[in-house]
């Protein structure tokens, strides 16, 4: 789902870094400070968990596959900003150690997949959990996936509006290409996965993994 290097110009990627930087600075103060012996291992564990969840491929009719994101799970278990920090680290590790995604688009991807989606999901979960807990979790994960995808589409659409010569693909082509799989497969898979995982985790011992 994330944007690869070369699709967005510095006109978009640099402001995205400027928006993400204060949040990363907050995370660094919180997790790399004096109490880092406590919080670093927890952050490392959650980052690894998010990374590994994203390697689980879901087969899609037609022979291709999509993958889980799992960041909403972290937002619901801990906090949206913890999810943002972990997803940023996942994207950084993917870009630096596995050559996936990209360094110029790191800020855009972190905001879209790590902040906007999980934050929307977390807010939806808080609003709906009084009605029906499982439905609220499913709706939160489904919504998070759609918001993240829409944010990526918006960034690509903005790039097209800024320069059709740079990014010739119009929103009318990007929107269905990204939203259809997200609405019909990826969102449902993410919702079902988050419900399953949270119901199993209800009994798990999470002590030692609470970086908040």
């Amino acid at each position: 789902m994330h944007v690869p290097d070369g699709f967005l110009s510095p006109q978009i990627t640099l402001p995205a870094y400027a928006v993400a930087a204060p949040l990363w600075a907050w995370a660094a103060r919180r997790h790399f400070g004096r109490a880092s012996a406590e919080s670093l291992p927890a952050m490392g564990s959650l980052t690894a968990l998010a990374f590994v969840i994203q390697t689980i491929a879901i087969p899609v009719p037609g022979g291709t596959s999509t993958h889980l994101v799992g960041v909403t799970l972290l937002a619901l278990l801990f906090h949206p900003l913890v999810a943002f920090t972990c997803e940023s680290l996942v994207l950084l590790v993917q870009a630096l150690f596995f050559g996936a995604g990209g360094i110029t688009v790191l800020g855009v991807n972190a905001l879209a997949m790590g902040l906007l989606g999980p934050l929307a999901g977390w807010l939806a979960w808080r609003a709906l959990r009084g009605v029906h807990e499982r439905a609220a979790v499913f709706a939160a994960a489904y919504l998070a996936m759609q918001v993240s995808t829409l944010a990526v589409v918006a960034a690509l659409g903005l790039q097209h509006a800024l320069s059709q010569r740079y990014f010739p693909v119009p929103v009318a082509a990007v929107l269905p290409a990204m939203m259809l799989p997200s609405l019909t497969v990826a969102g449902l898979a993410e919702g079902a996965y988050t419900v399953f995982a949270l119901s199993l985790l209800g009994k798990a011992n999470l002590r030692g993994l609470s970086p908040r």
């Binding site: 670093l40 291992p41 952050m43 564990s45 969840i53 879901i58 050559g99 693909v169 082509a173 199993l200």
Partner: protein, 178 residues
């Protein structure tokens, strides 16, 4: 230095839309990073070309249908070339840089990277074992629902392992004076 140069050149290349300038940048990158050339080109062909080519072809057909005349190919070529050059630069530089040594001046960042990478390897083994177990238990290829249900169970196991690892590493770091 190489890392800083890579970041600067990545942003510089990401600003270029002219196919000729991108062609020159590609030629320069191929000349500078000759070692491991074929391997890195293969990685680019595997990871970048399919996505970019599919998106470009889809958009070109869409624009052709919408406008009734073929749109110019140059911007699509430039997009594919830019994404490929950036991916090639990334693979070539990362082949030559020891990232853990590069972040050594920042001990907390180094510890976080080491912890994350070590846990990624450990958790990936567990996830792979579990998914292979799922495959071996089913008489057919797992469907999306099987994988999603299995992933829920794997997550519970991964989080339990993560919690244990985090506690052990915390205690080990404290014992070593961090």
């Amino acid at each position: 230095m190489l890392l800083a140069g890579w970041v600067a050149s990545a942003f510089a290349v990401s600003a270029v839309a002219d196919p000729l300038a991108l062609g020159a940048a590609s030629a320069a990158a191929l000349l500078v990073f000759r070692r491991g050339l074929l391997r890195n080109l293969r990685r680019v062909a595997r990871s970048v070309v399919p996505v970019t080519a599919a998106l470009s072809a889809l958009s070109w057909v869409f624009l052709y249908a919408a406008q009734g005349r073929p749109p110019p190919l140059a911007p699509f070529g430039a997009l594919a070339l830019r994404a490929s050059v950036l991916a090639f630069l990334t693979f070539a530089v990362l082949d030559r840089v020891n990232l853990l040594r590069a972040v050594a001046p920042w001990p907390a960042a180094t510890r976080l990277l080491v912890l994350s990478l070590a846990q990624i390897h450990a958790l990936r083994l567990l996830a792979t074992d579990s998914l292979q177990g799922l495959r071996s238990r089913l008489p057919r290829k797992p469907h999306a629902a099987d994988v999603v249900r299995g992933a829920g169970g794997i997550t519970a196991a991964l989080l339990a392992v993560s919690a244990r690892n985090a506690r052990e590493v915390s205690e080990a770091m404290r014992a070593r004076g961090f």
